[in-house]
Structures are given as structure tokens and as C-alpha cells.
């Protein structure tokens, strides 16, 4: 902020001393590493960066980093992050969380954050389950998953398509990664932060405790066979026929970003004048 030469920070400098509460083997460890790697790569300063989250295992991330953070309530990270970024446009603002936090309780904010296109990066660790509350179906869970006591016969409901929804709602950058590829994910996050407007990165991040079968994602994920497109109709087509295992940047839009506040051009006395009879 003061214009002095920024010290070079490495990924470790973006980690806090606080030990994660996650289960051994949880995909979120790698995502944390990817985020800190990306921040180092971006060359941001700790004090000028904020990570905002909701509630869930994945939403614990801010405390494990050394930047400013806000661990808010369930589902509202994007609203918090939007308020922060609008009030302080010069900050680098990331929002992080889970598929339950982002697409279920926070689904409306997701849609409108895409639409609003404020320059923040949203990282969702998608494990197709509510990890923190011990294994219930989430919006991205497949309809025949019978692993939850709450829905013993499966949900019978088609999964939510976050990337397609993001595209339709107007997100300006859409990517998918797999936590098992931390360098690849770090690269996606760097691009997402650098791209103006609302950037959405879905990261498949296995919940080894409640969805142990997600360990197989390691062999299932693949790099998308095609380059990112800036044509929404092509991106849409690709996403609608996608099996959810194609990784990479899928869409890079060119939508304008909301303007920053202008310099004051009136004083309180000027404003008061309109009331004077």
C-alpha cells in the first residue's frame, strides 16, 4: 500500500500456524496448498488480500491462511465478499466454501454474484456431500447415492450443474480443477484472480470420510480436450454434454466490471442544502 518494494513471499508465508481440523486425506488440504501457492505466484501482499467463507469443512480455510479473513455464517460468503470488494475495490478478495454452502443455502447469492460480476474469485470445494454435518446429500450429489440416513433411497433429484448455472448467470471466468492436482489448481486460481470480474473455480475435492469412493476421481479426471472459449454458446454446449470430469478453464468472458466509487464531489453541507426551505 505504501509503494515500498514488496517482499517476495512464498506459499508457506501465506499459511498460518493454526492446524486444520480436517480428516486425514481430505481433499481440502491440497486446495489450501493451491490457494497459498497461487497467492505467492500472484505476488499479492498478505494485508491486501482477504479470504471470505461460510460454514462447512471447506469454509474453514481462511483461518489456515495468513491473510485477512472472514469466517461468516452458512451460505453468505459471497455477500460478505461482495460488500468488502465494493467498499474496498483495491483489495484482492477470494471467497471459498463447499457445494452445500455455495449452491444450496447460498444458491441465490451464487447466481447473483455471477450476474453482478464484481471482481472476486469464488473457489468451491465440491465433494458432493455435506461433510461438516456428517454426510448428507448436497445439491451436486447424484440422485441414486444412498449413503445418507436422511435420504436412504437417494435424493432422486438431478444434480445441480454449477458451471452451467454460472455461465447462464453471467460469471466472467469459469474453470474446474481436481484437488489431486494442486499445481494445476493453483494455476487455475492465478488465472481466475487475474481475470477481471466474477471468477468461479469448481474444485473436485474428495470427502474421504463420507464419500470414500471419491478417491477414484484420481483416475477419472482428465484435462479438457479443448481450449477455453469466450463464446458463451460454445461453452454452454460443452458444459451440457460434460460428465463433470473435464478439468481446465472452460470459459473466459469479457463482461464489464462494475465501476469503483467516484471521488467525493459534495460535502455534507452541500447535501443538506436540499432540505433547506
Amino acid at each position: 500500500m505504501d509503494g515500498a518494494e514488496a517482499p517476495i513471499l512464498n506459499a508457506k508465508d501465506f499459511k498460518s500456524d493454526y492446524k486444520p481440523v480436517w480428516c486425514p486425506g481430505c481433499g481440502d488440504y491440497s486446495v489450501l496448498s493451491s490457494i497459498t501457492k497461487a497467492l505467492a505466484e500472484l505476488g499479492v501482499r498478505r494485508e491486501d488480500t482477504a479470504i471470505i467463507s461460510g460454514i462447512g469443512c471447506s469454509s474453514r480455510i481462511p483461518a489456515y491462511t495468513s491473510v485477512y479473513g472472514f469466517h461468516g455464517v452458512h451460505g453468505r460468503s459471497l455477500a460478505l465478499a461482495t460488500g468488502l470488494k465494493l467498499a474496498r475495490p483495491e483489495l484482492t478478495v477470494l471467497a471459498t466454501g463447499g457445494d452445500g454452502d455455495g449452491f444450496s443455502i447460498g444458491g441465490n447469492h451464487f447466481m447473483h454474484a455471477c450476474r453482478r460480476n464484481v471482481d472476486i474469485t469464488y473457489i468451491v470445494m465440491d465433494n458432493q456431500v455435506y461433510g461438516m454435518t456428517k454426510g448428507q446429500a448436497s445439491p451436486t450429489t447424484h440422485p441414486d447415492w444412498e449413503g445418507s440416513k436422511l435420504t436412504p433411497h437417494g435424493t432422486g433429484i438431478n444434480p445441480f450443474q454449477p458451471l452451467a448455472v454460472a455461465l447462464a448467470a453471467g460469471a466472467n471466468f469459469i474453470a474446474r480443477g481436481f484437488s489431486g492436482d494442486p499445481n494445476g489448481v493453483a494455476k487455475l486460481i492465478v488465472e481466475a484472480v487475474q481475470h477481471p470480474g466474477f471468477s468461479f473455480v469448481q474444485i473436485l475435492s474428495p470427502c474421504v470420510t463420507f464419500r470414500p469412493e471419491q478417491r477414484d476421481w484420481k483416475s477419472m479426471h482428465r484435462q479438457a480436450a479443448v481450449e477455453a472459449t469466450s463464446d458463451p454458446s460454445r461453452a454452454g454446449k460443452r458444459l451440457m454434454s460434460d460428465d463433470g470430469m473435464n478439468m481446465g478453464v472452460l470459459y473466459v468472458g469479457q463482461r464489464p466490471v462494475p465501476a469503483s466509487p467516484e471521488r467525493p464531489r459534495a460535502t455534507l453541507q452541500d447535501i443538506e442544502r436540499s432540505f433547506v426551505i
Binding site: G72, R76, L80, A87, A266
Partner: protein, 570 residues
């Protein structure tokens, strides 16, 4: 010479009763009087029926009074709907157009004097004239409103509409004036009292809340529209922009409160405004602001509840949710504005308190304050501004350090060395999550302590007069209570007024002092379940003799309702 005069104007949407009412209010301002104008409309969004209620006076006016002096009805379409809002008595005068059909029963029953003026026919004779201007002219005669005052007002209000429109309006007013000449004055327009020549403002409570917010230092606002709070936000949008601030329209109130908390976390004093349904949606996140100690202000312009209730009408029934609605033990601030102009002071003061004490603060206003326009003395700037205790960078930073005052310095993004995670999870002084007994106890104590130890000064209540009888009230019930006390004083009764501006944290000792020597208390509030009375019972010692005058919305409390209760104790 009367001190006050009141006029109700009713008519179909196209009749322009609101414009006529506004001009009347403006005329009072030109004559250096005070006044208020409230409006009421049917359920239609646009058009339909509407009514304007104007009361003008030598002294600041803070309620619509008992019975209207004059009711001018441009037609009878809506009169049944509005009858309860337009109390008339045998001293009242009702002006109506004979072409509008038979005079309804309710009007006959009131015993008011009926006066026919063929408003429509007169209007037809004036090229470009409008019926509301003819009515205004008739009112000018009936009120003995000086011609010069009316001419100056018309120039002022309609001047920018062009010479032709102004001339047509003037001609219509003159025609109305002439038509009522035979009847002559039925009331006298009040004359101005002693005057220091200071600025007078024409302002609504909602604009006043907006002005209070920016005076207090608010520069970020998140908004989701809701009647009757929308005008707070609509006023703030352009004015914040001029001041270099930002207003964002959110997708719902869950978002607006969180955006405001996000802005404030960023160091910018932040606010949102809503009404009951929106406040209910915000509750979880208001608790977040309390737990994470992020200042935020929520202006709740109350309306009839529960649920969608009566969106366009006033009620004081959000007291419970504002004071008790948060889950967990969540000390926060609740304040209440007691007049249109006090919406400014109370909001400004509340911004200061929220920032100083790093917590959530709810300002309770209501429809009758927010949407009423008043001529008031310029509200002095009490100098309360956002003064957050900031981290000075010297010691290693602990966001939730256990300080003596309970307030811990706050770091703001951008400040190196202050990086911390604000958390709604219970935490240690460092901010790291904790579910340990001692951390919970210590942080609960800290958050409670900062409110208990703060010196709120005299602003916690308006206390006026002396006597063994006290009216204890809050918010918009203060205006009619004050007038009732004046009526009682005319009978030789001494009555004290205690109107609470600070509802939470409760001010136990100051309240006891305010009631020192009081043996009888009359509680006045606009709620069905006596929310304020129960609040008082829960927190304060009251004398043995307590009466409650409570009434739900939508009807405003009238001074004589309070006065009749006081008279029982004469």
C-alpha cells in the same frame, strides 16, 4: 389565534390531493410555521384512492392531532376506507362537491358542518385548471390563508413547471378562493411564533435517517427494497455517490446485511435499512456481526405485522424481535427515533455507537415517522461520528484481546501486521476458533462488558417535566404523548414524559432516576401484545400503579386517547 390547524384531503388517484397537501405544507413553511404531512393510500400500487393529512402549527408538530379541522373530499369513492383515519367532530368542517353524490353516513354521523363547493364545475371554467388547485383555493379562504403567502408558495412550488402551468394553477386557486368567499374563514391560519431566523428543513423521517447515516460517517450501504423503508435507501443512493461512497442493491436481505458487514469489515462504516420481514431474514447475520464484533447499523422502519401484515401502515411491533430476536447471548444496540427530525439524530448517534462499541445496532423507526414530511428546525449536528478504535500496529495483534473496556482495537484490511480472521465461531483472543468453556465465558463477558461500561449520556431518553405521574413511551408514540401531557397541564395536572431512545442495552439506573418520585406510570405504545410494557416489566422497577394504553396499528395514537387515560388520575 389557534396554535394548530389540520386538514385532510381525500380523492381518487387523479385528483392530486397529495400535491395540494404538499403545497399547503409549503405555505406553512413560507409563513415560518411548522407542520407535517402524512399520506395514506389504498392497496393499489399506483392511482386508486389517496389521502393527505396535513397539520400546521406555530410550534413543531409531531402528530396529526385529535379531530381534523377541515376535511376536503374531492369525491366519496374512498371515504369508508379512510373514515377511521379521519376523525371528525362537531367542530370539523367537511367541504365536498355536490356532484360527487350523496354524503355518506359516516360523515353525517360525525356531526361535522357540511359545506358544498362545486369543485368540478368551477374547474371546468378555468382553462388548464385542475380540481386540486380549486380545492386548495377554497381551503385558502376557509383557513384565512394570506393571499401573499399562497402566491409566494405557488411560485416556489410550481414555478419550474413553466409560466403557463403556473398561471393556470394561480387562476384555479383564485377561482376556488372566490367560490368559498360566501362561507368565509372557518379557521384561522396560525401565525408564526418568535423566530431565531434559523434554517428550516422540509424532510421526511426516511430522508432524515439517511442524512443521519452520512453525518455519522456511513459510506457503504447495501439495499433491498421494502415498504416503508425504501426511501431511506433511495435517498442514500445518489447522496452516497456524491460523497464518494457506494450503495449496492442486493438480491435479498440475507445478502444486504452480509454485504454491509463485509463493507464494515473493510473499514467503511456500513448500514442497511429494511422493515419487519427483512429484519427477520437478517437476524442470523446480525448475530454474526455481534460475535465477530463488526460494527453494522440496521434501520428498521416498522410496519404492521406479523408476516406481510400492513406494509403501508405504522406499528411499534418490532420491539421484541429487535431486542430479543438474536439467538444465543448476543448483546447489541437498539435505539428508537421519536420524531421525524429525530430520525436524523438517532441514526447518526447509532452509527457512532455501533462503530465505537463494534457491534450490531438496530434503529427502530416506523412508517408514521419515515413517510411523514415535516417542516422542522435544522437538526443540529451533534457531532457523533464513526470513531472506531483501530489497531495501532505496535503490539502483536490479537483481534479479540480481552481489554478492560471490552472493546479491542480493530485492524482493517490493508494494514500489515493486523491480518486476522473475523469469526462467528466462538474464538480465542487471537481469533482462532475455540469451544472451550473459559474462552466462551471470556468472550461473552467481553461482548457484554463493552456495552455495559459505555456511558451513553443523556441521549438514552427524552425526559421532560415533573410530577408524580409519568408517561413512559417510545418512538412515534412520543409525539401524541407529549401533546396529551400539554392538554393535561392545561387542566392543572403535572405529568412527566419519559421516552426511551435507547432500548438496548437497558439503562437501569438512569431509568430509576428518571422515575424518581413517580407514583403512577402510564405506558403508551402502538402494539397489540403490549411489547413495550412487557419490556419495561422485564427490565425495570415500576411503581405499583401502572396503566397501559396500547393500540395496534394502523391507526395512529391520538393525543386525546392518552389524555383521557391521564385524566383518570386527576
Amino acid at each position: 389565534m389557534p396554535l394548530n390547524v389540520s386538514v385532510a384531503l381525500t380523492g381518487a388517484g387523479g385528483a392530486g390531493v397529495v400535491t395540494a397537501g404538499q403545497i399547503l405544507l409549503e405555505a406553512a413553511a413560507v409563513a415560518r410555521l411548522y407542520g407535517i404531512m402524512a399520506r395514506s393510500s389504498g392497496p393499489q400500487i399506483r392511482g386508486g384512492e389517496s389521502a393527505a393529512f396535513v397539520r400546521l402549527g406555530r410550534h413543531p408538530v409531531n402528530n396529526l392531532g385529535n379531530a381534523f379541522d377541515i376535511h376536503i373530499a374531492f369525491d366519496w369513492l374512498n371515504v369508508e376506507r379512510f373514515a377511521a383515519e379521519i376523525p371528525l367532530d362537531t367542530h370539523s368542517v367537511v367541504v365536498y362537491d355536490p356532484s360527487a353524490g350523496n354524503v355518506p353516513e359516516v360523515i353525517h354521523h360525525s356531526g361535522a358542518r357540511l359545506i358544498e363547493v362545486p369543485l368540478k364545475d368551477i374547474t371546468k371554467e378555468v382553462p388548464g385548471g385542475r380540481v386540486n388547485m380549486v380545492g386548495l383555493g377554497a381551503l385558502a379562504t376557509l383557513l384565512d390563508l394570506p393571499e401573499g403567502t399562497m402566491a409566494a408558495t405557488l411560485e416556489k412550488v410550481l414555478g419550474r413547471k413553466g409560466a403557463e402551468a403556473l398561471a393556470a394553477s394561480k387562476a384555479a386557486v383564485a377561482a376556488g378562493r372566490a367560490a368559498a368567499k360566501e362561507i368565509g374563514a372557518v379557521r384561522h391560519f396560525p401565525t408564526a411564533g418568535s423566530d431565531d431566523g434559523g434554517d428550516r428543513w422540509s424532510i421526511t423521517g426516511n430522508a432524515a435517517a439517511g442524512m443521519g447515516a452520512v453525518r455519522g460517517g456511513v459510506r457503504f450501504v447495501a439495499a433491498y427494497p421494502i415498504t416503508p423503508a425504501t426511501e431511506v435507501l433511495e435517498w442514500l443512493a445518489p447522496n452516497l455517490e456524491k460523497l464518494g461512497g457506494t450503495l449496492a442493491q442486493a438480491e435479498d436481505e440475507l445478502a444486504s446485511i452480509n454485504m454491509a458487514i463485509g463493507g464494515s469489515f473493510g473499514g467503511v462504516p456500513s448500514l442497511t435499512a429494511t422493515s419487519g420481514p427483512g429484519l427477520a431474514l437478517m437476524m442470523e447475520s446480525i448475530g454474526l456481526a455481534v460475535a465477530s464484533e463488526v460494527p453494522v447499523v440496521i434501520v428498521d422502519v416498522q410496519r404492521g405485522g406479523p408476516s406481510t401484515g400492513i406494509p403501508t401502515k405504522s406499528e411499534q411491533s418490532d420491539l421484541n424481535i429487535a431486542v430479543y430476536g438474536l439467538h444465543g447471548d448476543a448483546p447489541h444496540i437498539v435505539t428508537a427515533a421519536n420524531s421525524v427530525s429525530d430520525c436524523l439524530f438517532t441514526t447518526q448517534w447509532t452509527v457512532h455507537l455501533a462503530e465505537k462499541l463494534q457491534t450490531a445496532a438496530i434503529v427502530l423507526s416506523d412508517q408514521s415517522l419515515g413517510q411523514t414530511r415535516a417542516i422542522v428546525d435544522r437538526p443540529a449536528d451533534a457531532g457523533f461520528t464513526a470513531a472506531r478504535k483501530l489497531y495501532d500496529g505496535t503490539e502483536a495483534y490479537r483481534r479479540y484481546a480481552l481489554t478492560e473496556s471490552g472493546v479491542s482495537p480493530m485492524a482493517v484490511p490493508g494494514q500489515a501486521g493486523g491480518e486476522y480472521v473475523a469469526d462467528g465461531l466462538e474464538h480465542k483472543p487471537l481469533g482462532t476458533p475455540s469451544s472451550q468453556t473459559e474462552d466462551h465465558q471470556a468472550q461473552l463477558d467481553k461482548r457484554a462488558r463493552k456495552l455495559v461500561l459505555h456511558e451513553f449520556g443523556d441521549h438514552w431518553a427524552e425526559i421532560e417535566g415533573e410530577g408524580e405521574v409519568a408517561v413512559v413511551t417510545w418512538g412515534s408514540s412520543t409525539g401524541p404523548s407529549r401533546e396529551a401531557i400539554a392538554m393535561a397541564a392545561a387542566d392543572g395536572m403535572k405529568v412527566r414524559l419519559v421516552s426511551l431512545r435507547l432500548l438496548a442495552p437497558v439503562q437501569t439506573r438512569p431509568f430509576a432516576e428518571a422515575l424518581d418520585g413517580v407514583s403512577k406510570v402510564l405506558v403508551v405504545e402502538q402494539s397489540h401484545s403490549r411489547q413495550f410494557y412487557h419490556y419495561l416489566r422485564a427490565h425495570f422497577d415500576l411503581p405499583d400503579t401502572v396503566r397501559v394504553f396500547n393500540q395496534p396499528g394502523p391507526l395512529p395514537i391520538r393525543p386525546n386517547q392518552v389524555y383521557f387515560n391521564l385524566r383518570e388520575w386527576r
